[in-house]
């Protein structure tokens, strides 16, 4: 279990660094575009597109961060239907289903990326292939499958959802 915990800690640190970097890059590129337009009368060519790609990759990487802090949106009104003694088996089922979902999504997304690459689709304004950006979908969902799979195997390392108070503070 400690190896799983260590793996998740390292993974989270990596995701956090990437997400914060991409967030900063996205904000900077949009701002630079505005400043350039106001000073020179011309925006930075392709800047909005770059910002959008940074946003998509950052948000998808943050999917894992949301999993790691149990912040995915979930209706909770049915939680009280089961007795407390069922909590651990229920958590395993919950995370097992999530793992299955992530694996299926990763597989389908992988096939879409392969098709996009084969078709040679490019971003119109940047003139670069879009499949490397799309690759974040299968990659992130595969990593999410591993993460939720570990939560299913070792419910003790599954994070508790933050209280609403923590979320707001």
């Amino acid at each position: 279990m400690s190896a799983a915990q260590t793996f998740l800690n390292v993974l989270t640190r990596l995701e956090r660094t990437l997400a914060v970097f991409l967030f900063a890059f996205m904000a900077l590129i949009v701002m630079a575009d505005v400043v350039s337009r106001e000073i020179t009368g011309l925006g930075i060519s392709g800047a909005p597109r770059l910002a959008v790609y940074a946003f998509i990759i950052m948000s998808m990487i943050s999917f894992g961060l949301a999993s790691q802090s149990a912040e995915h949106l979930r209706p909770r009104f049915a939680d009280a239907l089961f007795p407390k003694s069922w909590e651990i088996p229920l958590q395993r089922v919950q995370e097992g289903l999530m793992t299955l979902f992530c694996l299926i999504f990763a597989w389908v997304a992988g096939s879409v990326v392969t098709e996009t690459k084969a078709l040679g689709e490019v971003s119109r304004s940047l003139k670069i292939p879009i499949w490397p950006m799309q690759s974040v979908f299968p990659l992130v969902f595969f990593i999410a499958a591993v993460r939720h799979g570990l939560f299913a195997l070792y419910p003790a390392i599954k994070p508790s959802p933050p209280s609403k108070m923590d979320e707001a503070a």
Binding site: S59, M60, A66, S69, H72, V112
Partner: protein, 419 residues
């Protein structure tokens, strides 16, 4: 038959504690497999198309700007000005609370952040000044909800994105209804606290506080002024808001370090990691529904049952009130807006007006059990039990309901400021 099986399957997943992103993805996949071309790949393609939009950039940037200011000293500085200025009015401190909530939510774009930031200062001030505990709790919970109607509002952006309605129009349409709700709350505060202690304005202190808050107060003017004068798009104004917030908090107020900025960015990224996949799946379902002309079929079905605009408004508002009690506002908008807005349009309701109605309606959900977010946050913030806070919010639910009826019956209140 397959529709019943799909609904049952989703219910089972819900009971087995699956996240909304899973429920929406399963629904989207099943719709394509059962009723479409049978290709699951369309879900991923729709998800990519949904995320690949420049207008979405305003969401992370506004959330980040709000979070930066919530961690800094902007709330405290603004409240000081309003508190001193409203001293001579009956119920002045309560009115100061409502105005502070509105002003701060115009900066932060979030109800819960407003509740915490303003409530932390005003709740003790209200109770120490002799205002009833229940009144103070209800007022702060309700004042916090103004955050979703006062622009820039994330729920308004979500509505704009998913229904392809102009976000700038939605922002401007939210101004007068927000002022109406503020006025209704202020009238109630005056009537309820007519005999409360009043203080005269300490002008030197007022000017001192005003000087300290000038950079904070300029924020809504820069954001909204920039959008409405055509200087910035909503997305660009969001980037400007981030840089202005960083500049003010780190260089002028000197209350935020680089480490704190990294922490705030990380917290915002987590929020987006939960929000964007849900948005993508909701838009995938939306694309399927539009392709299969489901809204048109629903219009025909509903037209047979409800033959008037008033009837539709009544049915949709009751439905949204119920949904607001059990679902968070982001999910409610993403699921319901694509279904209801085409129907509203078919009954001659302007989509901008309907968007404002939807947001004001779901605003009430912040105060209604079992999932009233502001009630839950207030429970932790003010160390009160849930029932006490829920009871305290009751008069304010009635006030918001009156506001909703006025906004519904008076479309010009939302549309008057739009060209």
């Amino acid at each position: 038959m397959s529709a019943v099986a799909l609904s049952f399957g989703l219910l089972v997943l819900l009971v087995l504690r699956q996240r909304i992103v899973v429920l929406l993805a399963v629904a989207a996949g099943a719709l394509y497999v059962l009723y479409g071309d049978g290709k699951l790949a369309y879900v991923v393609l729709d998800a990519w198309a949904a995320a690949d939009k420049e207008v979405l950039l305003s969401i992370p940037l506004f959330i980040l700007a709000g979070n930066i200011m919530a961690k800094g000293s902007i709330a405290r500085r603004l409240i000081d000005v309003v508190r001193i200025g409203t001293g001579p009015i009956p119920g002045g401190l309560a009115i100061a609370t409502v105005i502070s909530c509105a002003v701060f939510s115009a900066i932060s774009g979030s109800s819960t952040v407003t509740l915490i930031a303003v409530g932390a200062i005003m709740y003790p001030a209200l109770t120490q000044a002799g205002y009833g505990r229940s009144f103070a709790l209800g007022l702060i919970c309700a004042g916090g909800t103004l955050g979703i109607i006062v622009p820039p509002s994330i729920p308004l952006i979500l509505y704009g994105v998913i229904t392809e309605t102009s976000i700038a129009d939605l922002f401007i349409a939210g101004v007068l209804p927000a002022i109406l709700l503020m006025t209704l709350m202020a009238i109630y505060a005056v009537v309820r606290n007519w005999s409360a202690e009043r203080t005269s304005v300490d002008w030197p202190a007022f000017w001192q506080a005003a000087k300290k808050s000038v950079f904070a107060a300029a924020m809504p003017l820069i954001i909204l002024g920039g959008i409405y004068t055509g200087f910035f798009t909503p997305t660009e104004s969001a980037a400007v808001a981030v840089f202005y917030a960083v500049l003010v908090e780190s260089l002028i107020h000197r209350e935020m370090t680089l480490k704190q900025l990294e922490q705030v960015t990380f917290e915002t990224a987590k929020t987006l990691g939960a929000l964007l996949p849900v948005l993508m799946m909701a838009l995938s379902i939306n694309t399927f529904l539009a392709f299969e002309q489901i809204p048109q079929q629903m219009v025909e079905m509903l037209s047979a049952m409800v033959d008037s605009k008033a009837g539709f408004l009544l049915v949709s508002m009751v439905l949204l009130l119920i949904i607001g009690c059990v679902m968070d506002i982001g999910s409610a908008i993403l699921v319901m807006a694509p279904l209801l807005t085409p129907l509203a349009t078919s009954y001659g309701i302007d989509p901008v007006h309907f968007g404002i109605l939807m947001i004001v309606n779901l605003e009430i959900g912040y105060l209604t059990p079992p999932l009233g977010l502001n009630l839950i946050v207030a429970m932790g913030a003010f160390r009160e039990d849930f029932l006490t806070i829920a009871k305290a919010a009751l008069p304010f639910i009635a006030i918001l309901a009156v506001g909703l009826v006025i906004v519904a019956l008076w479309p010009d209140l939302s549309l008057a400021l739009i060209d």
